[in-house]
Symmetry: D3
Subunit: 243 residues, 6 copies
């Protein structure tokens, strides 16, 4: 056990305040600013009437994602990836994760031969940027799909379920939900969990930063994540006016 | 003469509504969201206690800028430069322009051996992103300098004057101030003018897109720009509480 | 339930034949060919008496990994990453995973300011190249450490425990251990599990390729993985003459 | 006022000796060595019977430019851009400027679906390489067009007017025409002006290196530039036997 | 003359033990491990039913090669070219040499519009990696061709003759055949000779590392190479069951 | 035998007219325009008072070379390598060859810890650009060394002998000296030979483009090359006023 106190005296199993602002910018088919506490990510969904080579002629669409961080989203300035001439391994890992997560709830056949590109750009970072990105990208994608439906380009929604993500970790023996930056840097184990609205797992990525974790700890973390994702899905529905 | 009517019936010599929001994000020493109508640029100023090689040991500091556009800041999605692995010629031109413009009002000796990096990231584009960037970057740099003064790291401000920028152009024979996207695409001549608070020129970049322009037209454009920059400088002062 | 029959009538909870050949090449401090059935990976451990910048002067060492696949390790030829001029996102993800996994069992303080680089090059691929890489890299690293001990460069081994990895997945409802290529391509869920000799988790990376998986399925997969890693650790010990 | 004396006692409003040598190399459709004093640029015009993607099927042609400097064109050796693997921001700015300047006098419709590529390579630099490039590229392009006419590939010349360029600047308060290197390095303001044979402006790019410049100074610079370009256009005509 | 004694008391005109293992890996159409003493190169031949742009529609095929070295094939670890983002000049030189050498004995017309890609990856290096690559790549290409013949895709073999390669050099005045690493580093002159089964030259690449070499020395080296290649061709035939 | 007639009825064993112009540009320590018929290469030698890392603190200097071709040096325009972002394998091969050739006649100890960089830029190509580069680079290097001697920076010349290069080839059975472009494209065998003033070999690079060549043909080619290089060395001496 521990007497670790979370910033703002947040409970171990509580999310930070989550805010979802739709229509944050005007050009994209879906544009969502999502905030998990001080983490702010702009998620846009762009629809393009073309697919990558491996889908051409298949009758199926594609959903993909890119991720970026503004140089001063963080405490100290990071190099701009465009200026360095390449995306870091971390960036690529995250954008591949976002893309897989969204595709997990999309019926690509029902989408038709078009692509939805999700751009997740971190304006301000305080831990959990990848989980906020997935959660916000779902809402942006949903708005883009609504527009396709409204325009009569598709007859039925290709979205089969919600998808959202949260981080969980163990700090000084205490399982915590939705790690912010100071917690993330200090914790022994860190896990990102992506789940559907139905409560099934899409991705589980757990890493022992320091001490390896036991099966029992893993079970505790998964339970926390289930609670957190359920709350996020409720917030998505509320934001989209689905409840 | 012409009967071209500007969007929103704006007068030919009127700026779009300008909004300057300081402290838009929390980590940077200066963080400003500047809006010229629907153009929105986040300008952050980061102070680093080091200088590039050509200034090491000189006792002088450096002021530099980087510019980027989120992929869906525009009507149709543009490729992410970090993913493409290089910045376009246009991006480099713009960030070099921002850097030179800011250095024009900085006393690098008085700054001491440290660097102020200005990151101008376009969240939403509707023409005039480079002029908004320069105008906003000045305010962010001013905030960063205020912090250096407050911390006692420098004794006097290295900022010698304001700097701001505006675009002007000729559309169907009519000189216009502060072009928005539909005007910019259609106009024959397009000029970006960077000026100091004292009303002197720092940069003048005029381009005939279609028909070359006469000396008389040039004079009309410069006069419009002088008016526009004076208004922007007044807005900078107001935002900074200097009036 | 299912009547899916594994290639070679392998049991659902059986590893493929594993072969560990130490001293496969002559120059490296550790050089191991590891085979999981038809998957063959050459893992070398190189000791260098220097550390990356973030460890300089810390008194601590570093353990890192790189991963590659020969162009014709696979059924059809893949482009050579050196010729394309960059490593794919997949390659970077895998080598970051291998590095983290090995560091999880290393006492970097006890290693001293030197680096062990683990190069995992796939000569022949048939599924499970990342898990074979981790399992083989551990043996190569152990050989490199033995040499450091023999040369008196370090007084005690910085290796705190074994580390090994295995893939598990669900195919037609059936949880399977150690997926080979045809299984991996077909399965709904795919999880890579990295564990210590003590049976604790270092990394868990599960992905639903098609249908999201339930908590119950997750539990079944973790149990299978625990069995598989325990067998791999026994094989590592046998290969190293530790039993 | 000032008693600054120009190298070679050149008058403040005098060009350096300009020499235009057509047919400098044998393969290109146009090949011109242009010299502004010690600045020597080889400008070749290459005709290719294809257009870039954005012009395909448009019935219009394209005119584009690339710029380079031999590593030892300058006082001290500069890195070769091909070896560094990228063109500097400065190089891209200059080649974009040359391309726009030439397109300003071309009727792309009359050119037909073909491309004229202007390669401007600086063999020896002493200030004014971009203005010499534009002035020489026009002559090379004219020769390439003459060949197209002679071959009957086009019926009428797509060239609507001459285009030429000159630099002007203010040094110790004195406006100067056609800056050479030592003047360029020392001057407070530096402006490159591109104009047509009809005396209209195509590009104006002025930069205050040190002190911002007044409207009055700007007027003086523009007048000097008008004089210089008129002389260059006369020299182009003489070189092309058009007078 | 000299009293230099070769490692293992090898005669000056003797090859190292050569071993050719066909079918070393399972996926490639040809897969050969070739060993020249401690130098071990895996050569795979991949058949693809497409040709590069310059051969499309020509009715002719193409034969090409790529070369790589595992990071720890050498005494000290070399950087991985995929991680550095480019192939060294040395790598490119070698793979171009291998490609030209193989094409010299191929009738590209008889191959039909398909490509044979030869990947030569050095698992362990001890001098002579490029000559081993050429010699082994021939055997791999021969196996790939045999498969094309067996499948009835081609009616007659496009291979007109054997090709093999060996290095020769002068060390302390003594001409030596098949240099191993310690000899290669020390010798004054180093020559790689590629010849056909008929005893004609395909490539001769001689370099004076220290002292330039005389015509007489060149003649001695060519004679040695002729002897060595003849022996290698005999070993190729034996390995392929052609004798 | 053959009745092939060379352009301009040149004899089979004759060089094209060779012209060496010293002091072609003004900034470099050595600057030579060398012409082999219509092939024109600008060779500059730049002295820098620093050495690459592998020579630091060794008391030895370094001699290196870079090679480039202007885009329209050739019959049809080639892509600019700086714009493509990398040097081709051919370019790298040639510049490595030039560097090795020059180092073969340099006493790096006597040069002292400084670097001579030879930039060979082809202004116009008609075959033999690499041999012209080597031959011209020697003269440029000699001029740079003369300046170092004149300035008293070195006491004795580090140049031990001349170095020059020529191409030879077999066309329709006829050995030819100094191939121009149409011959080079058509010939079966092509060899570049680099030799010292003393008549010794520095580099021999022979390639059978079509039919492999016999030992007898090789002997004929080497004899032709010896004649050609001897003439080039005489021309170098004459140009340098050494005779």
């Amino acid at each position: 056990m521990t007497d670790f106190i979370r910033p703002g005296q947040r409970a171990a199993d509580a999310l930070r305040p989550v805010r979802i602002t739709r229509g944050f910018t005007i050009h994209a088919e879906g544009s969502v600013l999502i905030e998990f506490g001080d983490t702010k990510v702009l998620c846009t969904a762009s629809v393009e009437e073309k697919v990558p080579p491996h889908k051409r002629g298949s009758g199926e669409g594609w959903v993909t994602a890119e991720y970026g961080m503004l140089p001063r989203a963080t405490h100290t300035r990071s190099d701009r990836e465009a200026a360095k001439g390449k995306q870091s391994g971390r960036t690529q890992e995250i954008q591949r994760l976002i893309g897989r997560s969204l595709r997990a709830v999309f019926d690509l056949k029902a989408l038709g031969e078009r692509t939805i590109s999700l751009d997740c750009d971190v304006l301000q970072a305080d831990g959990g940027t990848r989980t906020a990105s997935i959660t916000g990208a779902f809402v942006a994608a949903h708005d883009a799909v609504s527009q396709l439906l409204a325009e009569g380009k598709i007859a039925a929604s290709p979205i089969r379920d919600h998808v959202a993500a949260i981080s969980v970790g163990i700090l000084q023996g205490q399982p915590l939900l939705d790690l912010e930056y100071v917690e993330d840097s200090a914790c022994d184990t860190d896990m990102n969990v992506v789940m559907t609205g139905a409560g099934h797992f899409v991705e589980v990525q757990g890493t022992a930063e320091g001490v390896a974790f036991s099966r029992q700890e893993m079970d505790a973390l998964l339970a926390l994540a289930e609670k957190g994702v359920a709350e996020l899905v409720a917030l998505q529905k509320q934001s989209l006016g689905l409840v």
